[in-house]
Structures are given as structure tokens and as C-alpha cells.
């Protein structure tokens, strides 16, 4: 029994070595084949649900780019994989650059993983579009020349919801209790929230840091009740949000629940009737503009459901990247960075166009607060949100809701 097993293991090892040796030349030949772009996003774990949408969005963009002639006359090949966790994300990014020969990287939702990929990008001098990570620190003290950020940062999420809450008189003098995801993203969001409360007279009476794998929130909900807050504020991420929203509805607390972070995928997963309150979002599939409608239609046709905001962001990010390569006639990182740093504007399927800000590489764009539709008004299970007016309001410069260089300083050594 043991003998044959050992022999089989040896045989397997030999076969594997053989396959690797034979496999090598094809990697070397890749220079003339399709243009490879690496895409990493969590497909498992607490962000896996929304990562699935990101992958669908990137794939649709790649198909459309190829159908319209590709990049520099070559087809693009999207190598899209599960980033799993920060350590694996970094290993995979390095492998994609070294062995697969990708010309650029994009993706990610987990801020901790995005940070490790940013380091790989800098080390290998490859452009990386961080598409779903929201931590301010990535744009500030951790920023680097090769990394661009297409999702809105935590400060903007806080400002979008904060503005709406102030209009409802729900900030000044009110007691807030926050529940915060215990990793770089949550810590960062709490910091932004604290800055907001300090500025607007909100009173933070309690905070709980919550591990990303927590599924039962009942002990935390009991602590919330003990603190007797006026408003409960969710600074969680991914499945944490859905679990909290469901269990908050289960306990039926009277304190209004609001949040500084939510992805529409989490709202859909919570289900109609469970979610209440005011939340932020960078995009929603009901936005009324031609580009957005066209994208939503193509996405539904292919996948049978509307795109979530991560599908949107990975779709436009890959499109912007491909367009830049065609415009500069190059995949050279230095040329691409120079191109983006000109702050040229891109159609983001929103009311206003956006641009990458030169000093921190943040894609400056509108955000929206939203509230939840009554179940009876929903057209289908995805028609859950009512978007508020864009933040900042039309007429005000987009950058007013973003951190300034003094607030979130970034220095990029050349």
C-alpha cells in the first residue's frame, strides 16, 4: 500500500518536472502572443462575493476590447485569479509579472492585499490599478508612483454619507457607536469617521473592532444596547456587513443603523426588508446616463444579473488602461504614468467625468449617498436603492470631498 503510494508520488513529481520544462519555452514565446494583463481579486473569504462581480466586470471589458481590435493591434489576455489573502496576492502578482509576463496589473478589494500588490508593482516597475481598495493610507503614506486608485477612498465614503446625515440632523450632538472591521481598511475608515465626528460635533461613545471572519454579531449587538447610542454606524466590509445587517434586523433595534461603507452586493445579499438607513456608493446600475445603460445591458445579457459596483469599477479600470496603452502607443510604465498624470478626463458612466489626480493617483469622481427602497416599490430583487444627489453637488469642484495633500500626504520618489 505504502509502496505504491510512494511510487505514485515519485511518478507525479517526474511528470510535473517534465511539464514545467516543456512549459517554459511557451512562456518565453509569449512576447509576440496576446498582451497579458494580470487581474487579482478575492473570490473566496469575506470579500469573495463582491470579488466575483469584479471578475465578471473585468472579463466583459477584456472581451469588448478584443472585439474592437485589442491593444496595439494585439489581443489582450486577462489572467484573472483569486487573490485569497495579502501574502498570496503578493506572490501571485510577482508570478504574473515574472513568469506570465503581464504588462500591467489590476484588481483587488481587500486594502491589505492591495498594499502588498502595490509593493510588487513598485518593485517591478509595472502599473497597478487598485480597483476596489478604499483605505486612505494606500493613497497617502503608502502611495507609490506605479499605483493608481480607481475606487473612492474612505474619506469620500464618510463625506458622502456624512453630508446626507447632516441634512437629516443626525450628526451634531448625537451619540454614535461604531462597529469596525479589524484590518487596515477598517482602522483607516474609523480614522476618517473620527475626523468627521470631530468636525461636525458628532459624539463617538463606543467602538468595537471586529475580526473579518466573525459571522455571529449577537455579543456585539448586546454591547451596542448597553451603550444606548443614538446612531449605530457600520464600518465593516464584505460578508461582515451582510451578517450585521441581517442580525440587526433580527434583533429589531430602534437605533438607526447607518454605514460609511457598503457595496451593493452586500445589500443584495442582506435581502429586502433587512437593510435600512443611509449608506454610500460610488456607482449603481440605475444611474441614468447612456454609457452606464449600455454597460448594464451588456452585462445583464452576458451574466443574467445586473452589475454590482465592483463589476463597474473593474470594467472601467481595464477600459481606461487599454485606452491609455492605445493612446500612448506603448505598454511602457513610464509613458503610461506620464499619460495619467496629465489629468486627462475619462467617462466613468456618471454625471461628471473623472481624472487621476497627479499627486496621489486617486481617480477623482462623484459619489452618492443612498437610502433603501420600500419592498413594495422594488421592480426586482436588485432594485433596492434610492440614490441621493451626487456628492459633491453639481457646481462644486469634485476635489472638495477628497482628502487634501496636507490631510493625506503622499510622496512618490521617482
Amino acid at each position: 500500500m505504502t509502496q505504491t503510494t510512494r511510487r505514485n508520488v515519485l511518478k507525479g513529481g517526474v511528470a510535473l518536472t517534465g511539464a514545467l520544462t516543456i512549459g517554459m519555452p511557451s512562456i518565453l514565446r509569449a512576447q509576440t502572443g496576446p498582451l497579458k494583463i494580470g487581474h487579482l481579486t478575492p473570490l473566496t473569504g469575506f470579500l469573495g462575493a463582491i470579488g466575483g462581480y469584479a471578475q465578471l466586470g473585468a472579463k466583459l471589458a477584456a472581451e469588448e476590447i478584443n472585439a474592437s481590435g485589442g491593444v496595439l493591434g494585439r489581443q489582450i489576455e486577462l489572467i484573472s485569479e483569486d487573490s485569497v489573502n495579502p501574502a498570496i496576492a503578493s506572490n501571485k502578482a510577482q508570478r504574473m509579472v515574472e513568469q506570465d509576463g503581464v504588462v500591467a496589473l489590476l484588481g483587488e478589494i481587500n486594502s491589505a492585499s492591495a498594499l502588498t500588490i502595490m509593493q510588487v508593482a513598485e518593485r517591478n516597475k509595472k502599473v497597478f490599478f487598485s480597483t476596489g481598495a478604499r483605505s486612505d493610507a494606500l493613497r497617502g503614506k503608502n502611495c507609490n508612483k506605479y499605483s493608481f486608485h480607481s475606487d473612492i477612498p474612505n474619506t469620500v465614503m464618510v463625506n458622502a454619507v456624512g453630508t446626507a446625515l447632516m441634512q437629516q440632523n443626525m450628526v451634531k450632538g448625537k451619540k454614535f457607536f461604531t462597529l469596525t472591521a479589524d484590518y487596515i481598511f477598517g482602522h483607516d475608515l474609523l480614522k476618517a469617521a473620527k475626523a468627521f465626528f470631530a468636525r461636525t460635533g458628532g459624539n463617538l461613545i463606543g467602538d468595537e473592532l471586529i475580526a473579518t471572519d466573525v459571522t455571529d454579531f449577537s455579543p456585539y449587538l448586546l454591547k451596542v444596547r448597553q451603550a444606548q447610542p443614538d446612531v449605530v454606524c457600520c464600518n465593516l466590509a464584505g460578508n461582515q456587513v451582510t451578517n450585521l445587517v441581517k442580525q440587526y434586523a433580527e434583533f429589531g433595534f430602534k437605533y438607526p443603523l447607518v454605514g460609511f461603507n457598503l457595496n451593493t452586493g452586500d445589500a443584495w445579499a442582506a435581502g429586502a426588508g433587512n437593510l435600512t438607513g443611509t449608506w454610500p456608493t460610488p456607482w449603481y446600475h440605475t444611474l441614468d446616463n447612456p454609457a452606464s445603460k449600455k454597460f448594464v445591458e451588456a452585462f445583464i445579457k452576458k451574466n443574467g444579473k445586473p452589475p454590482e459596483n465592483h463589476a463597474w469599477i473593474d470594467y472601467i479600470s481595464l477600459k481606461i488602461m487599454a485606452q491609455a496603452m492605445n493612446d500612448t502607443k506603448s505598454t511602457d510604465s513610464a509613458k503610461l504614468i506620464e499619460h495619467f498624470e496629465k489629468q486627462s478626463e475619462f467617462d466613468l458612466m456618471k454625471g461628471r467625468k473623472g481624472y487621476f489626480r497627479k499627486w496621489d493617483h486617486q481617480l477623482v469622481q462623484e459619489a452618492y449617498p443612498f437610502t433603501v427602497k420600500a419592498k413594495s416599490e422594488m421592480k426586482d430583487q436588485w432594485d433596492m436603492l434610492v440614490l441621493g444627489p451626487s456628492v459633491p453637488p453639481a457646481g462644486e469642484p469634485l476635489e472638495t470631498i477628497y482628502p487634501t495633500q496636507e490631510q493625506n500626504p503622499c510622496s512618490m520618489p521617482a
Binding site: 462575493a49 462581480y53 473592532l209 459571522t215 455571529d216 433580527e250 429589531g252 445579499a269 435581502g271 454590482e308
Partner: protein
């Protein structure tokens, strides 16, 4: 006042322990009769949740919660007949590999059938809300859940200890050779117990679907806690599992009260301590096959 808050966490922990119990007890039962550590137990929990959510849309909540566990128990019979049966007397590592593989297979199958985004699931609104008893606050839904768990627990105990069926099962666990000598075929008894264990996991999935994220990997999330409970209680021990489940719930709640950051780690620390001081678990029997 502080004491009241603490008591509230203890009681809440007991309620949560009841839910762990539903999953862990099946895991323990299957180990007892088959000698296989069923790593696919979480997969059946996930199928139970997915079936319940799908059925809720067709039949309403209550029928869904009843039908789903029975459907999964039927799946459990197939699982026993075509897979598990071959591994009863094999090296335990093979059973582990088989069920681990099955767990991954089921997770991917769920992705293929239902898609990778979570299913949205809501409970009937009349079950929502809190019940306040004295100074304590309970979720109404979890109280109902606790009642169901208690009923299942009593039912399983009676089945194993007060019926002819249970006598054969218990005899089979201790001395399968003697049972065979008496001319009793153990096979159907084992199959029934495995279907029962798997059905309990599915019931837990169905009951928890309205208050947790229903996603393809939900099974692998829960199997770890279930396994911790069984290890603390002692593999194969009925009351050990009951005790351990309640203990795990309470320890987690207390830790979150005093040291929130250690909340999730606390149950592993508890397992570590128990294994260090009493390797067979709180009420476990000595296991010769592993020593």
C-alpha cells in the same frame, strides 16, 4: 449593572451554543458509528441553507425549514451508500481525504448551481424583533431556534437510549463484532444514523440562513467551529458535545465582553487548554484506534 451585562452575554452564549450543538452533534454521531471524521459536514449544512432559501421562495418559510433537512438527509443516505460505506474500516486518513474532497466538490457545485454571490434570504417579519425578559434581551428568532434545538436534542437522546433502534446503534458503536455475532446487520442502522447527523446539519443551515450570509463557502466556515466543539467535548460523546457547545458559546461571548479583539481566538485557546489537560476531550472515551 455590569453583572447584568455579563449575565446577558452568558445567556446569549448559551443560545449560540445551542446552534453550534446542532451541527457538532451530527458530526460526533457520524464519527461514533462510522469512525469517519466527516469534513463534508459543513457542506451538508450549506446545502441545507441553500435548499431552505430556494424553497422559502416557493413554499414559504416554515415548510422550507422542514423539507430541506429531510431532503438533505436523503442525500446523506446516498452519501453513506456510495461513498462513506467503503471507508468504515479503512485508515482514518482516507476518510478524511474523501470527505474533505467532497466538501470542496459541494462548494463548487453550489457555485455552479446558485452562483457565487450570496443568496438573499429574509425571515418572516413576525419572527423578527427582541424579547425583553427582566433585564435580558433576546432575539425572538433565536429563542425559537433554541426551542427547536432542545426538541431535537431530546429526540435524539430518546432515540439512542430508549428505543430498540438506539440499543443496536449503541451496541454497534461499542462492539460491532458482537452485534454481528448476534445476527444483526449493522449497515441499515449506520446509514440511518448518518442520515440523521447530516439532516441535523441541514436543519442548522436552514434555521441560520435568515440571519447569516448564505454563500458557497459557508460550510467551510462552520465546520471548523463544529470540529472545535466536538474535540473539546470528546469525539463520540453525546453529553460531551452538549457541554462543549454551550461552553464554546459562553466563552466566546464573555471574551467579546472583556477582550473583544480575542473573541474569535478564544474558542481555539479553549480547545488548546482542553487538549493540553485532557487530550480525550471533556467527556470523551479513550480511543484505542488513535493511540
Amino acid at each position: 449593572m455590569q453583572l447584568v451585562f455579563l449575565m446577558e452575554q452568558v445567556v446569549n452564549g448559551l443560545v449560540l451554543g445551542g446552534y453550534y450543538l446542532l451541527i457538532a452533534l451530527g458530526l460526533s454521531l457520524i464519527f461514533s458509528v462510522g469512525g469517519v471524521v466527516n469534513l463534508a459536514h459543513g457542506a451538508f449544512y450549506a446545502i441545507g441553507a441553500y435548499l431552505a432559501v430556494t424553497l422559502t421562495n416557493m413554499t414559504g418559510f416554515l415548510p422550507a425549514v422542514v423539507i430541506s433537512p429531510f431532503a438533505v438527509a436523503a442525500l446523506g443516505l446516498l452519501f453513506e451508500r456510495f461513498l462513506l460505506r467503503r471507508f468504515y474500516s479503512a485508515d482514518p486518513i482516507l476518510g478524511l481525504l474523501l470527505t474533505f474532497g467532497l466538501a470542496m466538490l459541494v462548494e463548487q457545485a453550489i457555485r455552479m448551481i446558485w452562483g457565487s454571490p450570496p443568496l438573499s434570504s429574509v425571515m418572516p417579519s413576525e419572527l423578527k424583533g427582541a424579547v425583553i425578559v427582566g433585564d435580558f434581551l433576546f432575539s425572538r428568532y433565536r429563542l425559537i431556534l433554541l426551542a427547536v434545538v432542545a426538541a431535537v436534542l431530546v429526540g435524539v437522546w430518546l432515540l439512542l437510549h430508549k428505543t430498540p433502534f438506539g440499543r443496536v446503534v449503541r451496541a454497534g458503536i461499542q462492539r460491532p463484532d458482537m452485534v454481528a455475532v448476534l445476527g444483526i446487520k449493522l449497515q441499515p442502522y449506520m446509514a440511518t444514523v448518518i442520515a440523521l447527523g447530516v439532516g441535523m446539519a441541514a436543519l442548522a443551515g436552514a434555521l441560520f440562513a435568515p440571519i447569516t450570509v448564505v454563500h458557497p463557502a459557508m460550510g467551510s466556515e462552520i465546520i471548523i467551529v463544529a470540529f472545535v466543539v466536538v474535540v473539546i467535548g470528546g469525539l463520540g460523546s453525546f453529553w460531551g458535545v452538549v457541554l462543549a457547545a454551550l461552553l464554546v458559546g459562553v466563552v466566546r461571548g464573555m471574551t467579546i465582553h472583556f477582550m473583544p479583539a480575542a473573541g474569535e481566538a478564544s474558542i481555539y485557546v479553549l480547545m488548546f487548554l482542553v487538549l493540553l489537560l485532557r487530550p480525550r476531550g471533556l467527556l470523551g472515551e479513550r480511543m484505542e484506534r488513535f493511540e
